[in-house]
Amino acid sequence: MMLHLTLTVSLAHYLVLSAILFGIGLFGVLVKKNAIAVLICIELMLNAVNINLIAFSKYVTPGDFIGQIFAIFVITVAAAEVGVGLAIIIAIYRNRLSVNLDDFDWLKW
């Protein structure tokens, strides 16, 4: 195992952190009943991806900034997505008076 609690932090540390954060976000997406909570956890996953991108940018291609630019776009898209997602949830709430994902089972038809 390359990674142990060293004082010198390298790429692998960031990647593992990103993996853990992604996992937590995934767990939230799968187990929460409130639709808004799921939206929040999707944000966590996207942020984990951002950490990954920026870590790669620093350690693998520092001069190109490609990771950071990619991360900017990810943030853009995530923000747009939260907006639209909330609008949808509000629209659903207006019709069904609930944001409990257990009640939204129309995918089976």
Binding site: L15, A19, L26, V29, L30, V31, K32, V38, L101, D102, F104, D105, W106, L107, K108, W109
Partner: protein
């Protein structure tokens, strides 16, 4: 002329068939015209047959080697087996020549009779068309050179019998009787067909001349066991068609048809088709001793059995029907003990005297407006002299009083049975002879002698009906003279129609005198019981004394009831069993079971369709993991690529 007739013998069955077609298509609305067409066809056929027969009976060579005119009918090329080739043709030898002459003659006379009998019936033309069709099929059957062609004609004859028995379509009993006849014969014909198929498979041919040569040394083709099976199967056909026990049940019911039909079909011609078939295929049966025994025993038993039933019957045509069954038994017995000569001779004489008696009975029915119970008749001889006189001639013939025809033929059969060592069968035949004389003269005394009943107003029938009676009476008188032991050998029956060898037997005076004594005693007993005693008190007392036997005999030994019980309990029971199987096991377990299993799987799988996003997402990620794990074991580099990192 004779040469023409012999070379064109195929015209004999063709002409009645032509008249059938003409009547059906053209002349149906005109009754007399149809009758004329039919009778013309029949008589011209008779003339040609007579000429051909004359030609045959002057040419000795034909007894050894028959004259065959054949053409190919069809042939099938079969893969992996010899080609099947079926011919159609006519075979002229003494037996077939005798038959075509007899059949066409009797058919002509009966058609003339029908002009008077069926007068006023709305189906007059149709009746004649059926008669012509029947005559054509019977002649075809008799003259066939090939067993398959004979089978086709056999079935055609059965069809005509069905049509003619059920001619009075308004009577339920007639329709039922027609069905019974057809179905009973169908059961028998199944065996016959199997036998013919077996013959084709084993010997490769159904042509009678070829087959007789091949069967003579059958060991090269097959075993005795198979031959026995084939013989028994082929014999099944005649059991049905010729009314042997146990398939005799249709013949008495067939009396529902008009009397000319009974005379033609169920006395003279169709029912003898079975006997004729066995006679033609003697080359097969003579090789299988077990089959010969079977034929002889069946024949003797049938003769005795039918005679015991005829003793107590009341309807005039029923008595004659059971008499026919009994005489057919005689013919089979003769074949079974190995004498083609005696059998064909009895066939010949029986045709004349039985047709005669049926036609006379028809004349009586016509006069009494279809009242059939002999106990209600009496003293008819005075008002109907020709009918009564000819019936008496027939009665003498069947009883076996010389010099009438029946004596010579019946005596020949008794002689053959005795000479071949079948003493038990001989005794049965002798007892039957006694009974035959008794019941026939019981009929004659009850119907024609004694006091007239006041409610009957009989009158003699028109000349169209009495002329055939007279002709047949003449034939019944002299027809047997061709076969006496004292007939010149050139003209003697035994010289022409034989199997294996022509046998000029010494007259056995013991048997001759014995049979005459039996016949005379039978007539005398009937005379005592039914003629001398005006009130028939002794007859009734005798019947009361043996009440159980009388009931048994009167009810035909309950054979019909037994068959019905068999059908209802066993066949319907088996059908019910299969029905239950179908409903509960096939439908219930298998079909519904498969459906239930499918439904089970469906409902099980339906649970996974929750419609909830998070459930689907979970399964999605499980899938990704599964793919990664699988790839990790098979292709680690791509697993690494999927989950993050390059090695």
């Amino acid at each position: 002329m004779v040469e023409f007739a012999m070379q064109h013998a195929w015209l004999v069955p063709l002409l009645p068939a032509l008249s059938f077609v003409i009547i059906v298509l053209l002349t149906r609305p005109w009754q007399k015209l149809s009758a004329l067409v039919s009778i013309t066809g029949m008589i011209s056929s008779c003339v040609i047959a007579a000429l051909a027969a004359y030609g045959v009976f002057t040419n000795h060579a034909l007894t050894e080697k028959p004259l065959v005119y054949a053409a190919r009918w069809f042939s099938l090329g079969l893969p992996g087996a010899p080609d099947l080739q079926i011919n159609v043709g006519v075979q002229l030898d003494p037996t077939s020549a005798m038959m075509i002459f007899m059949v066409s003659l009797v058919a002509s006379l009966i058609q003339i009779y029908s002009v008077g009998y069926m007068e006023g019936d709305p189906g007059f033309s149709v009746f004649f068309s059926y008669l012509s069709l029947f005559a054509s099929s019977m002649l075809l059957l008799v003259i066939s050179s090939n067993l398959l062609q004979m089978f086709v004609a056999w079935e055609l004859v059965g069809l005509c019998s069905y049509l003619l028995i059920g001619f009075y379509t308004h009577k339920i009993s007639a329709r039922e009787a027609a069905k019974k006849a057809f179905v009973t014969c169908r059961v028998a014909d199944f065996g016959l067909l199997l036998g013919l198929l077996a013959l084709q498979i084993v010997f490769g041919t159904l042509d009678m001349v070829e087959l007789s040569e091949k069967v003579h040394h059958f060991e090269e083709y097959t075993t005795m066991g198979i031959m026995t099976l084939i013989a028994v199967l082929v014999f099944l056909g005649p059991i049905g068609k010729s009314g042997q026990f146990p398939l005799h049940v249709w013949l008495p019911d067939a009396m529902e048809g008009p009397t000319p039909v009974s005379a033609l079909i169920h006395a003279a011609t169709m029912v003898v088709a079975g006997v004729y078939l066995v006679g033609r295929t003697m080359f097969l049966f003579s090789e299988v001793p077990a089959a010969m025994e079977l034929i002889a025993v069946t024949g003797a038993f049938t003769a005795l059995f039918a005679a015991t039933i005829a003793l107590t019957q009341r309807e005039i045509k029923r008595i004659l029907a059971y008499s026919t069954v009994s005489q057919l038994g005689y013919m089979m017995l003769a074949l079974g003990v190995g004498s083609l000569t005696a059998s064909m001779f009895h066939l010949w004489t029986h045709a004349f005297f039985k047709a005669l008696m049926f036609l006379a009975a028809g004349s009586v029915l016509h006069a009494l407006h279809h009242k059939a119970d002999v106990w209600e008749m009496g003293g008819l001889l005075k008002k109907m002299p020709i009918t009564g006189g000819t019936f008496v001639v027939g009665g003498l013939a069947i009883a076996g009083i010389p010099p009438f025809a029946g004596f010579w033929s019946k005596d020949e059969i008794l002689l053959m049975a005795y000479n071949s060592g079948h003493y038990v069968l001989f005794a049965m035949a002798a007892l039957t002879a006694f009974m035959t004389a008794f019941y026939m003269w019981r009929l004659i005394f009850l119907a024609f002698f004694g006091d007239e009943k006041p409610e009957n107003h009989p009158h003699e029938s028109p000349w169209t009906m009495t002329m055939p009676l007279v002709v047949l009476a003449v034939m019944a008188t002299i027809g047997g003279l061709v076969g006496t032991p004292w007939t010149p050998w050139d003209m003697n029956w035994a010289n022409w129609i034989w199997f294996h060898e022509a046998h000029h037997g010494e007259p056995n005076y013991m048997i001759m005198i014995g049979s005459v004594v039996l016949a005379a005693s039978g007539i005398f007993l009937a005379y005592q019981l039914y003629c001398v005693d005006k009130t028939k008190a002794r007859a009734h007392a005798l019947a009361d004394k043996y009440r159980a036997l009388h009931t048994l005999s009167f009810n035909k030994f309950y054979i019909d009831e037994i068959y019905l019980w068999f059908n209802h309990s066993i066949i319907d029971g088996a059908a019910k069993l299969f029905f239950m199987f179908d409903i509960y096991i096939m439908d219930g377990i298998i079909i519904n079971g498969i459906a239930a299993v499918t439904r089970l799987f469906g409902e099980g799988a339906r649970v996974s369709q929750t419609g909830r996003l998070q459930n689907y997402a979970l399964v999605f990620f499980l899938g990704v993991l599964a793919v990664a794990v699988i790839l990790a074991f098979t292709d680690p580099s791509s697993a690494g690529l999927m989950l993050g990192g390059v090695k």
